[in-house]
């Protein structure tokens, strides 16, 4: 009995030397010399709660409480005070750990209450508020509105649109092909322009944003960009026109008579294809034929007809002409005039003397 009393006294003394909230309970029975023991169950303070952005998980941790046999974690939604058991803990199934992960937590601002259990004693402590932000910003990257494709000039513009405002989007976050190109990012919030320049040769230009390179205000990284069309064909080289062919119903060698002339050309382009061919003429059979001296004849966009252009009749006043073709590709690049074809217009009938009959006129 004495030992029991000593034990009880020890317990009381132990509890009394503890801080904080204490539940005291007395155990006394019978008469005689009794002993009393006292103790306290300390709250598991401090409680910390943190929610890595985009994860839907709140990491809750607390300090072990002496005498606690387990802990119950409760999530409290600040906006309406709704409480929800967290970390799978209940009174009936407390955790003995001093931390847990509260999974699949919906977006919101919460604080957590950790209740230490010890028999019928409880002691609770609350965390600071923790905000849960589960979403990751998504982003689409596409050709900018108005961007020519194929394009003959740079910069080539793309537009990146995030699902939510991001805070740290820079050009280094952009993946561009070809890698030698440079990107300048402008914009703010959810919408940015990505201007690609430094293109040194004809190629396809593709822009994308890798996952977790850009973050929202909660720190959630973006998902990898998606695109409807994030490729622009950059064509830096004009097409090559050949010497036009000229056909006419009244033709003899390079001569054409008082009839229409159909001009055709087999221009080629190495990337985007020939969009149109324009024809020009210069007077004379020799020499260069450039914009300084040429006269426009007409143009065609019909590749199926070899860009045929049919002139009026006669083609021009009598004389020799050089005809050149100038091709433009789909990107708008215009090549230089090709080799010239010579056409000589002859609408003048021969001169004829009166006939000689039996040697006499």
């Amino acid at each position: 009995m004495t030992r029991r009393m000593m034990l009880m006294l020890g317990l009381v003394a132990l509890v009394m030397t503890g801080g904080g909230l204490a539940w005291g309970f007395w155990s006394a029975a019978g008469a005689g010399t009794g002993s009393a023991a006292t103790g306290t169950l300390a709250a598991p303070t401090p409680v910390t709660a943190s929610a890595p952005p985009g994860g839907g998980t709140v990491n809750v941790a607390w300090t072990a409480s002496a005498r606690a046999t387990g802990y119950v974690v409760t999530r409290v939604l600040n906006s309406d005070g709704t409480t929800t058991a967290a970390c799978g803990t209940t009174q009936a199934s407390p955790t003995t750990a001093t931390s847990c992960d509260d999974l699949s937590v919906a977006d919101g601002t919460y604080h957590y209450v950790v209740t230490a259990l010890s028999a019928s004693w409880t002691a609770s402590a609350s965390s600071a508020n923790v905000t849960v932000h589960n979403s990751h910003p998504s982003v689409t990257v596409d050709q900018a509105a108005g961007q020519a494709d194929p394009a003959a000039s740079s910069p080539v513009n793309f537009t990146a649109v995030f699902s939510e405002a991001v805070t740290d989007f820079t050009s280094s976050d952009v993946t561009v092909v070809p890698a030698t190109a440079s990107v300048v990012v402008t914009g703010s919030g959810t919408t940015y322009n990505l201007a690609v320049s430094g293109l040194t040769s004809s190629s396809s230009v593709t822009v994308s944003i890798a996952a977790n390179t850009v973050h929202d205000s909660f720190g959630a990284g973006n998902t990898a960009s998606t695109s409807t069309d994030n490729t622009v064909t950059y064509d830096a080289t004009g097409p090559t026109a050949s010497a036009p062919t000229a056909t006419s119903s009244l033709a003899y060698g390079s001569f054409v008579g008082n009839a229409t002339v159909t001009l055709m050309d087999s221009a080629t382009d190495d990337l985007t294809g020939v969009a149109s061919v324009a024809y020009y003429r210069c007077a004379g059979a020799t020499g260069s034929c450039t914009a300084a001296s040429w006269t426009a004849i007409g143009a065609s966009t019909s590749s199926g007809t070899s860009f045929a252009v049919t002139t009026g009749a006669p083609f021009a006043a009598d004389g020799s002409y050089r005809i050149v073709a100038v091709a433009t590709d789909a990107a708008g690049n215009t090549g230089g005039p090709g080799a010239a074809s010579v056409v000589t217009v002859d609408t003048t009938p021969p001169t004829v003397a009166r006939p000689t009959v039996n040697g006499h006129q």
Partner: protein, 352 residues
């Protein structure tokens, strides 16, 4: 009598005495009825002049072989050094004569064993005299004398007139390359329109257009007529006229017009000269004909065509139409189908 005349007579007497000069019959009478006439009084042409005179009657004036007749022309006339002389009317027997001239003085020597002139007017014709400029030449600058008679002059001046040319046979339609037939003839006339027997006059025909390719000149015969028997025009022409001209003579008026065409029979050869300049070149020549010599020929009847430049686009015309007047044209087409207007036409005469 003057001293000069006295001295002259004395000098002549000396010449006669020493035999250098022949002494005239003592107090010889002059010839009479002297005339100088010609069939060609046209200036500056060659003429035959007939000199008529009457010697004195009887033996005193009779001329026989070896006798001389001295004829003097005005100094403006031209006399050959040895003119041909023909004794004419009045002379009897087998007269011939030779002559020599010194200046315009012709000395005629009669020959012929039976030749004689007695009691009658005689005529000698001297050929090859060149008439002087037109004008009236004084009678006393002409004279006739004989061995027997002294000199006498005509009573009237000798008149030289201007001359002119006249067509006798004018040109008629003909064919190119063929001498015109009948031949054109031109007569020298005096101012009055009388035929002048001006021989040796070179007459030239000039066409109103084109050229005469041969026979454009002819020389008048002794009748003063030039005959152009080889006059040929090689090129066709319509409405041509000719003018005849000669130096010193008034040219004729233009002749009546005439045509030169090409004579055509089936198988005629047509050729043409055509050019296309800097153009595509001539491809072919087609030939057409229309009725009549003149006018345009735009819807003619096709003859044929040729693309052979090496032959000058030669076409053989077969199936010629009925005989008559036609014109042929050529139409040239180049290699880009430019077609010329019909050429000028060549008049032809189908003579099938």
């Amino acid at each position: 009598m003057s001293i000069k005349r006295t001295c002259l007579m004395a000098f002549v007497a000396v010449l006669v005495a020493v035999g250098i000069a022949e002494a005239p019959a003592a107090f010889a009478a002059p010839v009479s009825n002297v005339t100088f006439t010609t069939t060609n009084p046209v200036k500056e042409t060659t003429a035959d002049w007939s000199v008529r005179f009457t010697p004195t009657n009887g033996a005193g004036g009779e001329l026989k072989a070896a006798d001389k007749i001295t004829v003097t022309f005005n100094s403006s006339f031209g006399v050959p050094s040895s003119p041909a002389v023909t004794p004419g009317s009045g002379f009897t027997g087998n007269c011939t004569a030779t002559a020599s001239a010194s200046g315009t003085v012709v000395t005629i020597t009669l020959a012929g064993s039976t030749c004689g002139l007695k009691n009658a007017a005689g005529t000698v014709t001297i050929a090859g005299i060149t008439n002087p400029a037109a004008g009236s030449y004084a009678a006393n600058t002409f004279s006739v004398s004989t061995t027997k008679d002294s000199a006498a002059s005509p009573t009237s001046p000798v008149v030289i007139t201007g001359g002119k040319l006249a067509f006798v046979q004018g040109p008629t339609d003909g064919f190119a390359g063929t001498a015109l037939s009948p031949a054109v003839t031109v007569q020298v006339q005096d101012q009055a329109g009388n035929a002048a027997f001006a021989s040796g006059v070179t007459v030239t025909l000039t066409p109103s257009a084109g050229t005469i390719d041969s026979g454009a000149t002819a020389t008048t015969n002794s009748s003063g007529r030039a005959t152009f028997s080889t006059m040929t025009i090689n090129s066709t022409a319509l409405g041509l006229t000719l003018t005849a001209s000669a130096t010193g003579l008034t040219s004729t008026a233009a002749s009546a017009s005439f045509n030169i065409t090409v004579a055509v029979t089936s198988g005629a050869t047509l050729t043409d000269t055509t050019a296309d300049g800097a153009g595509s070149g001539v491809k072919s020549v087609a030939y057409y004909y229309c009725t009549g010599y003149s006018g345009s020929c735009t819807n003619g009847t096709a003859i044929g065509s040729s693309a052979n430049a090496a032959t000058n686009y030669s076409v053989t015309w077969t199936g010629t139409p009925a005989a008559g007047a036609y014109r042929v044209v050529a139409v040239s087409t180049d290699n880009v189908s430019n077609v010329s207007q019909p050429s000028g036409s060549t008049p032809v005469t189908v003579v099938n």
